[in-house]
């Protein structure tokens, strides 16, 4: 079960992403060469890029439920049929916003969401509320909205689960919500596409973008971050991007998620992918090799916001039977359809890692959970190959992926009867190869034995941050000048909103005077939106060292008798 299964809901609206961008340039991490103008708005190495005053916040803005599909496959967008239509899907209302966080200055293409809450709201009631499990975006492409500039032209998807769910459906009479609660009370699957992000800091829409997605049931044991469905690869063409489909044999329907697959024009109207033709590829090598069975009816204005790009086809028995064992294909439409041109074809054999972004300290192990599928079904006994790669990392310098031996993992694995394989990646101390940036960034690409690395979706890539180790003696006896100040200086340089607005962490007096609050925020769980540093790029050793330092400061201070924190 997943966000494409029924009962599912579609929502759309806006999102806010407000990351600080001084750290977008790896050389800005170098305290010895840092200049004040690196904190100014502006492009180029000598400036702080588009958002040096970013808060790190990520949130849902003005999102509403626009349509639903019931368990039986019927659907509606009419609030008089189901009162859930039009309700707000939003984030927290009683703690700080979740955070958007890059893995590293040299891997900015897998930004994760941390500490996000998702709520469905009716008046004062949270019909459901839960925690968004940390996830990174994938399938980013830079030609989604070709008329726009900068990252505004890009789009990417997030898929994860909402967990720790609390429901309050008491007085709310929605058939849809009752069904969803009955099918999936513990966790929900959520997927959305983000695009058309505004990077112009004096524009009222600054830091906002468009979001459209879907929520559906989730069952334990399934991948959290991708759908084991029919993988649709675009025929190389900047007009199209990766998509996925689900064959629901019970409901005899094919559900295709084209949310991140088509282009949009300057105004946000659909540009590519109108009225595409859906087909199944048979074994017949003649002219009738493809049987066309549907048209993606998406030419009406507002189609994307209403559907999040999800289209459903009811199937005849014949097509259903064919699709179970034959690949899906999607064709460009043209007035006569005489010479149909292939737009998407199914990658029949496919392998994907579930969680594909992680942070490791020396001695820690990361289990990469891989699942192989054939036509969307588990592929047992398949051999998966894995190798290190730095192809996804830039800009450089500093050097990436060295020393290679700081991560080790088996070069291959075989899938079990469920198509699953688990690979242990062990991390050791990389030393300090990047000098002014802690640790090193590593990548792993994987494929099925018979595939070529060049045939893969380049987003199917595991990114790992491995931190530099800190000697235990330093952790136990940290010195301000030698050990603490350089770390704090880097944060003060890279996050001017914090250093100018609240704490200048580079200032010893400020750190000492605020030791209580600092030890509190530096000691929080990574998933807490108040965790410091918001960038979540502090090694376990450095975290312990900072906490140890603050503890020493606090133990040397007299018990306070007035209000402790005054920077309000």
């Amino acid at each position: 079960m997943s966000y494409l299964h029924s009962p599912r809901l579609v929502f759309s609206g806006q999102f806010q992403a407000d990351p600080s961008t001084v750290n977008n340039d790896p050389t800005h991490f170098d305290n010895t060469t840092f200049q004040p103008n690196y904190q100014d708005y502006g492009k180029g190495q000598n400036n702080g890029w588009w958002n040096p005053d970013g808060t790190g916040n990520w949130r849902l803005i003005g999102c509403q439920v626009v349509s639903i599909t019931y368990k039986d496959g019927s659907n509606t967008n009419d609030p008089s049929i189901d009162p859930i239509i039009g309700l707000s899907l939003t984030d927290t209302d009683s703690r700080v916003a979740g955070k958007i966080v890059d893995l590293d200055s040299q891997q900015q293409m897998v930004s994760e969401l941390w500490g996000v809450i998702v709520r469905l709201v009716s008046g004062d009631t949270n019909l459901f509320i839960g925690d968004y499990q940390t996830a990174a975006f994938t399938n980013i492409w830079m030609t989604r909205s070709p008329a726009l500039r900068g990252d505004s032209c890009a789009a990417a998807i997030y898929q994860s689960v909402i967990k720790n769910l609390k429901w309050d459906l008491g007085k709310f009479n929605s058939r849809y919500l009752n069904e969803l609660h009955e099918v999936s009370p513990e966790q929900l699957s959520i997927q959305f596409t983000v695009d058309r992000f505004n990077m112009t800091h004096d524009d009222p829409q600054f830091s906002l973008g468009r979001i459209a997605g879907s929520i559906g049931p989730y069952f334990e044991g399934e991948p959290l971050h991708w759908l084991t469905g029919r993988q649709l690869f675009p025929v190389p063409n900047p007009k199209y991007n990766y998509a996925v489909a689900l064959l629901d044999e019970q409901l005899k329907t094919l559900i295709i998620d084209m949310g991140n697959a088509f282009q949009f024009d300057e105004k946000g109207d659909l540009l590519s992918g109108k009225n595409l033709i859906v087909a199944v590829k048979t074994d017949n090598p003649s002219k009738t090799e493809y049987i066309y069975f549907g048209k993606i009816d998406n030419s009406s204005p507002g189609w994307y916001a209403q559907t999040a790009g999800i289209v459903t086809f009811r199937l005849t028995e014949e097509i259903l039977t064919l699709l179970k064992s034959h690949p899906l294909a999607i064709f460009d439409n043209n007035p006569t359809f005489d010479f149909p041109e292939l737009a998407f074809q199914e990658k029949t054999s496919y392998v994907r890692a579930d969680q594909f972004v992680t942070r490791l300290n020396a001695g820690e192990t990361f289990e990469v959970s891989l699942t192989a599928t054939y036509l969307g079904k588990p592929l047992p006994g398949a051999t998966i190959n894995l190798v290190q790669s730095t192809s996804a990392f830039d800009p450089t310098p500093p050097v990436v992926g060295t020393p290679e031996n700081a991560i080790t993992f088996p070069p291959s694995a075989k899938t079990d009867e469920y198509g699953n394989a688990s690979i242990s990646v062990q991390a050791s101390d990389p030393g300090n190869p990047r000098e002014y940036i802690d640790g090193q960034i590593y990548g792993i690409v994987y494929k099925l034995e018979k595939q070529n690395y060049t045939d893969l979706n380049p987003s199917d890539f595991v990114s790992l941050m491995v931190y530099s180790s800190v000697p235990e003696s330093t952790i136990q006896h940290p010195d301000w000048e030698r050990d603490i100040q350089p770390i704090m200086q880097q944060y003060a340089n890279l996050y001017p909103l914090m250093s100018k607005g609240i704490f200048n962490l580079a200032d010893k007096d400020v750190v000492h005077n605020n030791a209580e609050i600092l030890s509190f925020v530096f000691g929080k769980e990574l998933t807490d939106p108040n965790y410091m540093p918001a960038t979540r790029d502090l090694s376990a050793g450095k975290q312990r060292m900072i906490l140890r330092y603050l503890e020493t400061i606090l133990s040397g201070q007299q018990a306070k008798t007035s209000v402790i924190f005054k920077r309000l």
Binding site: T55, G62, A97, P204, D269, G302, T561, L568
Partner: protein, 366 residues
């Protein structure tokens, strides 16, 4: 000096109502003080900013004590409603119509003297003696004294039948030593702790009737801290208040210099309102984020004082977030007043409170 509307204080229900007013009143001073503090930019004005910040911190403490007290007698503080937030400019909650109008103003010596010092002005000791009389305007100090008197009386009556008015759950009491030393914020479980709590509020706010210096309970020699009125007066005098045996009252404004640089104050247009800004402006967007953060803060405080004391950590995170959005507003031009900056408006909003224009935009959203 603030004068409160006359209220009848008889019975536990009346004390609960009075404490809810006290909570609203303690909160209502925070937006004006914070606004002035947010507008102090640069290190030049750090001394003044610390003084105001220390007062804001104590107003938060007073709010917390009042909530603990209300919980202690079985009440439920209400913080998460639009009515909880006063409209600025306006009267502070519970005050009489003729009394002070308080707005959200950038820092100036005038706003400190004409507004903040009036809010915090110590009462004339003579007023205490009139407490028992009917229809006598209440000062804040007298209001708390009246609550204290009533609590003592009610508890005494309850004791006679083997009962207590302190029926609240200990688990609902907030302590938060990271910010408020336990001598200042402690569980209120009986009449002694209730009296101690009220005394802290009154002493920090106004000082004792004869001495501007406040000594924490039980530790007369440890820290000498000024009551709020005198901390504000230090700002206007430009010098710290110190004990001075040669002065007629035993103290004088002859201590450390308190520098003020008027060029390092954000030029905020007074009394900002979110809906005064056109929807398609940066000022509106940041105002909405500020107000949503502020509303989230009130929501988290409500939860803190309604059975989830650990929520105070979320509230503290929101306090920082609030400051960041205020600073962004103060760097954003006010679209209606050339040459001025936008500012924080402290309004209760929810994500669902969409303006007409926002709804329109969403309707046409592709």
């Amino acid at each position: 000096m603030l004068v409160l509307k006359d209220i009848t204080l008889k019975g536990v229900k009346a004390v609960k109502d009075a404490l809810q007013i006290a909570i609203k009143l303690e909160h209502s001073t925070i937006p004006p003080y914070l606004t002035a503090n947010f507008t102090l930019t640069g290190d030049q004005n750090a001394y003044i900013s610390n003084l105001i910040g220390s007062i804001v911190g104590e107003e938060m403490l007073h709010l917390s004590i009042a909530c603990n007290l209300l919980n202690a007698i079985g009440g439920h503080p209400v913080i998460n409603k639009p009515e909880f937030v006063p409209k600025y400019p306006g009267h502070l909650p519970g005050t009489v119509e003729a009394s002070l109008i308080v707005g959200l103003m950038p820092f100036s010596m005038e706003v400190v003297e004409d507004t903040f010092m009036v809010i915090e002005e110590p009462e004339n000791p003579g007023v205490y003696t009139n407490l028992a009389a009917e229809n006598v305007p209440l000062t804040i100090g007298a209001f708390y004294e009246a609550i204290k008197t009533q609590l003592i009386l009610l508890e005494k009556e309850a004791k006679q039948t083997g009962k207590t008015i302190f029926v609240g759950k200990l688990a609902d009491q907030l302590t938060y030593p990271k910010f408020f030393p336990e001598k200042l914020l402690f569980p209120i479980t009986d009449i002694d702790t209730a009296i101690r709590g009220i005394n802290i509020i009154v002493d920090q706010g106004e000082g004792t009737s004869t001495d501007p210096f406040v000594s924490p309970e039980d530790e007369p020699d440890s820290v000498i801290e000024l009551a709020h009125y005198y901390r504000f007066e230090e700002i206007t005098k430009g010098k710290a208040l110190i004990k001075d045996p040669s002065a007629p009252k035993g103290y004088s404004y002859s201590g450390e210099e308190i520098p003020f640089d008027p060029t390092a104050v954000a030029r905020m247009w007074p009394n900002p309102r979110m809906n005064d800004y056109p929807v398609d402006t940066v000022a509106f967007t940041y105002s909405k984020f500020f107000n949503f953060t502020y509303t989230s803060l009130l929501n988290s405080l409500h939860r803190t004082f309604n059975g989830e004391p650990e929520q105070i950590n979320a509230a503290m995170g929101l306090m920082f977030s609030l400051r960041l959005y205020a600073l962004k507003l103060l760097q954003t031009p006010d679209p209606n007043h050339a040459g001025y900056m936008a500012g924080p408006s402290f309004e209760f909003v929810t994500n669902e409170d969409l303006t007409k224009q926002e709804k329109l935009k969403l309707a046409t959203f592709k």
